[in-house]
């Protein structure tokens, strides 16, 4: 009997496919998310848009919040550790969190090294803007990838850019001859064996979710249309007028992302979504997607 094997960790992410993972800040929100059909919740002290507004250093959440959320839902509970913060991650693992997010939404603790994720029994999800970043995280032991997008903006444009880039790079690698892969591994800064796997299978070795800017049911469906395996919704739900309705609508739009009539139906009278931010209005320091490498 083996725990924490790569198959067990990646398999856990496979079970999330076609689902919506929602950011929650307390037990009450977690219950709303579960009742709406979320496949997992991300327990946080503040959602990304509030982190933006608050400024300062954003850290791992208070364990009380995480335990409170774990107590009230039967679906998996995820939590975020700072990039490179091994101890925050170990603390979250000790609490029994089901999945860790080494996240650029929090202020990085290490500007050079990410966490050695193979050293954990619990699986990790990491953000990526391109194929190189995705494969580097997988080398370090990530069992799930998500686009970085631009968290807390309610603006889907960066998530679209990252998903499209990763997919076009995968297609390029797929069409290369085997002898070109060595140079491409060097260009991308990734391990050759992983690149060979992408070349042979035409996809990442782990599931790839969309995250960072999903604000409406149509946004979630767009990311599925672009090839995402599922969707993370951060500030989008609990910063909207009617979180319960919004959450249900996003779940249905994700499941039936090609059924446009249904998406129209669930989008009716949803109230105001979160107020978004135009990306060009963000200064370089405010762009979370540039954190990590």
């Amino acid at each position: 009997m083996e725990t924490g094997t790569s198959r067990v960790k990646r398999g856990m992410a496979e079970m999330q496919k076609g689902g919506v993972i929602m950011d929650v800040m307390n037990a009450e929100q977690a219950k709303i998310a579960e009742a709406a059909g979320a496949t997992a919740v991300m327990a946080l002290e503040r959602v990304p848009s509030d982190i933006r507004a608050a400024g300062g250093v954003a850290r791992m959440a208070d364990p009380t919040i995480i335990e409170e959320v774990m107590k009230v839902v039967s679906i998996p509970v995820m939590a975020k550790a700072r990039i490179g913060h091994y101890v925050e991650a170990k603390v979250l693992e000790s609490l029994g969190v089901d999945y860790l997010d080494e996240s650029e939404v929090l202020t990085p603790a290490d500007e050079v090294f990410h966490i050695d994720k193979r050293d954990f029994t619990v699986p990790f999800v990491c953000g990526a803007k391109d194929l190189g970043e995705a494969l580097r995280r997988i080398s370090e032991g990530a069992s799930m990838i998500r686009t970085k997008g631009e968290p807390g903006t309610g603006n889907i444009v960066e998530a679209v850019r990252h998903m499209r880039l990763i997919n076009s790079q995968i297609r390029k690698v797929q069409n290369m001859s085997k002898d070109e892969l060595y140079a491409e591994a060097k260009n991308l800064g990734v391990a050759y064996d992983l690149l060979l796997e992408v070349h042979e299978n035409g996809k990442l070795p782990v599931v790839n979710f969309a995250a960072g800017g999903v604000a409406t049911p149509a946004d979630a469906a767009l990311m599925m249309h672009l090839g995402a395996d599922g969707v993370f919704v951060g500030s989008g739900i609990f910063k909207s007028d009617n979180p319960e309705k919004f959450a249900r609508a996003i779940v249905e739009a994700t499941t039936h992302y090609t059924d446009y009539k249904l998406i129209a139906e669930v989008s009716k009278n949803l109230g105001t979504p979160m107020k978004g931010i135009e990306i060009s209005k963000l200064s370089a320091a405010e762009r979370m997607s540039d954190r990590g490498w």
């Binding site: 009997m1 094997t5 198959r7 079970m15 076609g18 579960e34 039967s74 998996p76 089901d98 249905e252």
Partner: protein, 193 residues
């Protein structure tokens, strides 16, 4: 032979791959109308609360019950096992309530307790590599239910006539022997009808 995989949420592609490896055609099922063209159905792993909710919403509860009542084999893995059970511990409303079993959700604990192991399954010639992810257990079975495998004396695979369930994920390995077993169930059913 055409076998559907309920595609509301969860590990659909992996089941389709295993079905095809075992020698049948696999189809993703998004709408109840699709059931009429199928010889058997797999309800995959995923989150049982999400799958249960979407099944209700899109009319799958009655449709799958009718499909099973016609004698078509149904195979549930992990979350699929939970939605097929007549009784779910902890007071959760049963979903399809097809099979005379009682289940306990997340019976091994949280994700850090998830594991893989070799398992002997009645009816298979070789032990199977079984991947348990936040897996449920069968805590009680009715008279008509045949126990096919146990792990530490707990029931993890069972069959009741044309219904098959496993608490682990046979679709996450390259071994398609349990899928082949399910295809045999479909073939023998077709012969019997």
């Amino acid at each position: 032979m055409k076998v559907g995989v309920l595609a509301l949420q969860g590990a659909v592609a992996e089941h389709i791959r295993s079905i095809e490896r075992a020698g049948a055609e696999g189809v993703a099922v998004k709408l109840p109308e699709q059931l009429s063209e199928l010889d058997g159905l797999i309800i995959p792993g995923g989150e049982s609360t999400t799958i249960g909710k979407l099944m209700r919403k899109y009319g799958f509860i009655e449709a799958i019950r009718a499909f099973a009542a016609q004698g078509h084999p149904v195979f549930g893995t992990c979350a699929g096992l939970i939605v097929m059970a007549k009784e779910i511990e902890g007071g959760e409303e049963p979903h399809l309530a097809l099979m005379d079993i009682q289940v306990s959700r997340n019976a091994f604990g949280r994700q850090r307790e998830s594991f893989e192991t070799d398992l002997d399954v009645k009816g298979l010639t070789q032990p199977l590599r079984a991947v348990f992810i936040r897996a449920p257990l069968i805590t009680a079975v009715g008279d008509q239910v045949d126990v096919l495998s146990t792990y530490k004396e707990e029931i993890v695979t069972a069959r009741q006539g044309h219904l098959l369930v496993s608490s682990f994920h046979p679709e996450l390995t390259d071994d398609c022997s349990l899928h082949a077993y399910f295809l045999e169930m479909i073939k023998s059913k077709a012969g019997a009808v």
